[in-house]
């Protein structure tokens, strides 16, 4: 089960909007993919992906993953200092790397389920970022 702490929705900064969008997308990915490959393997793949990208996007270390799900709670203040574009690029890279791992393991079986959900969200994030 994915788990997210409720956060204050009043301050709709672009960074918040991008963050909310990706948080929901990651939860959706977690729910869909864990049903296919199980929580333990998915946790491992998230950990590998974050480890791979943490040098380029250090803020990704605040994405907490466990067999219970994903949590980005309490990180809003930390992330507000980042530009929406950087948040978008960081999360986009994370999801792209996860897709790569999914395809290494199961060719198109997982990505076939995922792509229709992911691409519209990428486009929406790009729209928010370009409005700034």
């Amino acid at each position: 089960m994915a788990r997210v702490t409720k956060e204050d929705k009043n301050g709709k900064w672009p960074s918040d909007l991008v963050l909310d969008l990706y948080r929901n997308l990651l939860i959706e990915i977690w729910d869909d993919v864990s049903a296919l490959i199980g929580e333990a393997i998915l946790e491992l793949l998230f950990t590998l992906a974050i480890r791979k990208l943490r040098e380029k996007y250090p803020f990704l270390v605040f994405v907490k993953v466990s067999e219970e799900g994903i949590s980005l709670s309490g990180m809003r203040e930390e992330w507000r200092n980042l530009s929406p574009l950087e948040i978008h690029r960081g999360f986009q890279s994370l999801i792209n790397h996860l897709s790569h791992l999914f395809s290494v393991l199961a060719e198109g079986v997982i990505n076939k389920e995922l792509f229709p959900k992911v691409f519209p969200k990428f486009r929406e994030a790009e729209r928010i970022v370009s409005q700034k």
């Binding site: 296919l36 490959i37 950990t47 590998l48």
Partner: protein, 340 residues
């Protein structure tokens, strides 16, 4: 609905078979025997990090090149997931062939791997291997196959982790943690087995007790860590000086013991003398320099010394060692009845 129940029952049987397995080969065999009821596949494999073993269970009609394709693919996936890259030629392959495909579905001799599902075997956040289902047909697997296979993979990971734990407990129970030689307990057990064989079968059995001369001076002068290193070097020299069927054990402190099954007095004296000479002539690194150490050795033998028990055989070798020490050290002494 009926199909789902049928599949769940098969899945339950597979999980049950895996959890009851006592070695990796058994996991592959027992899971492999049930898998054709659940999936359409050509080959199934389990790669275990320990020893880089790859067990493959495949249809009789799979060409050898298919196993190679599979090894390459699993090495590639494992390299992406694991901490160190692995090449296919580093893997030790064991291939079991079975007839599980109907005759009309035999695999073309030129078939190549066209699709796969490969999952990491992850336990406690560690990747201990991976498992794979492969096919000579493109897009052979779907989301439901992946769901079922992930449940099987999870059970495999849990069982393999238990094997790892059991194997390390077994290692600790048998081997001396410093020198990796057999420990005292394991020595007693092995001597019991060998003595029984010899006493009842009438075959010779020799025991050689070895003590490092003036070892206390090394600990006092260079410290216990250097002393430990010296013991490891001597252990390695001993291991390299005996036959495959012999047992080398650390008896305690700086004392070692050899069990030489089938060795008469002449042969065991030759082995002991070879060890004495080897240690005397091998410089051992210590501190900033090197030293040459010596050892004293005592030999006892069945049937020559007529021991009535294994304990008596040990006592006789110990007595001979005492005499080697008393005689000036750096020498081999054979037990002599009446010398105390």
């Amino acid at each position: 609905m009926r199909l789902i129940f049928k599949n769940l029952n098969i899945l339950r049987s597979i999980i049950n078979a895996i959890s009851k397995s006592s070695e990796i080969k058994e996991i592959v065999e027992s899971a492999g025997a049930h898998l054709p009821n659940l999936f359409d596949f050509s080959s199934f494999g389990v790669l275990w990090k320990e020893g880089l073993l790859l067990y493959i269970y495949q249809d009789e009609s799979c060409p050898p090149s298919f196993s190679q394709d599979m090894a390459k693919n699993m090495a590639r996936v494992f390299s992406v997931l694991g901490e160190e890259p692995v090449e296919a030629d580093q893997l030790t392959l064991e291939v079991g062939k079975r007839n599980f495909r109907p005759k009309q579905m035999v695999i073309d001799p030129n078939a190549t791997l066209k699709s796969h599902l490969t999952l990491p075997l992850a336990a406690e956040g560690e990747v201990i291997g991976c498992t794979s289902l492969t096919s000579d047909q493109p897009n052979a697997f779907d989301a439901q196959d992946l769901q079922f296979f992930s449940v099987i993979g999870y059970q495999m990971a849990t069982t393999l982790k238990q094997f790892e734990r059991f194997s390390s407990i077994k290692t600790m129970a048998i081997y001396d943690t410093l020198t990796s030689l057999h420990n005292r307990g394991s020595f007693e057990e092995r001597l019991g087995i060998e003595a029984q064989k010899s006493f009842y079968g009438g075959t010779p059995l020799s025991l050689v007790m070895i003590d490092v001369d003036h070892f206390k001076n090394i600990n006092d002068t260079f410290g216990h860590l250097e002393g430990d290193r010296v013991l490891c070097e001597i252990a390695s020299l001993l291991k390299g000086s005996v036959r495959k069927k012999d047992t080398v054990a650390r008896y305690g402190g700086e004392e070692f013991v050899l069990i030489l099954p089938g060795a008469g007095l002449g042969e065991s004296a030759m082995i002991a003398e070879r060890i004495r000479h080897l240690i005397e002539s091998t410089p051992i690194r210590i501190g900033q320099g090197e030293i040459n150490l010596t050892v004293s050795l005592g030999i006892s033998n069945f049937p020559i010394h007529r021991p009535n028990s294994k304990e008596e055989l040990v006592k006789m070798a110990d007595q001979a060692l005492y005499e080697a020490k008393e005689g000036g050290r750096n020498r081999v002494f054979i037990f002599r009845p009446g010398h105390a």
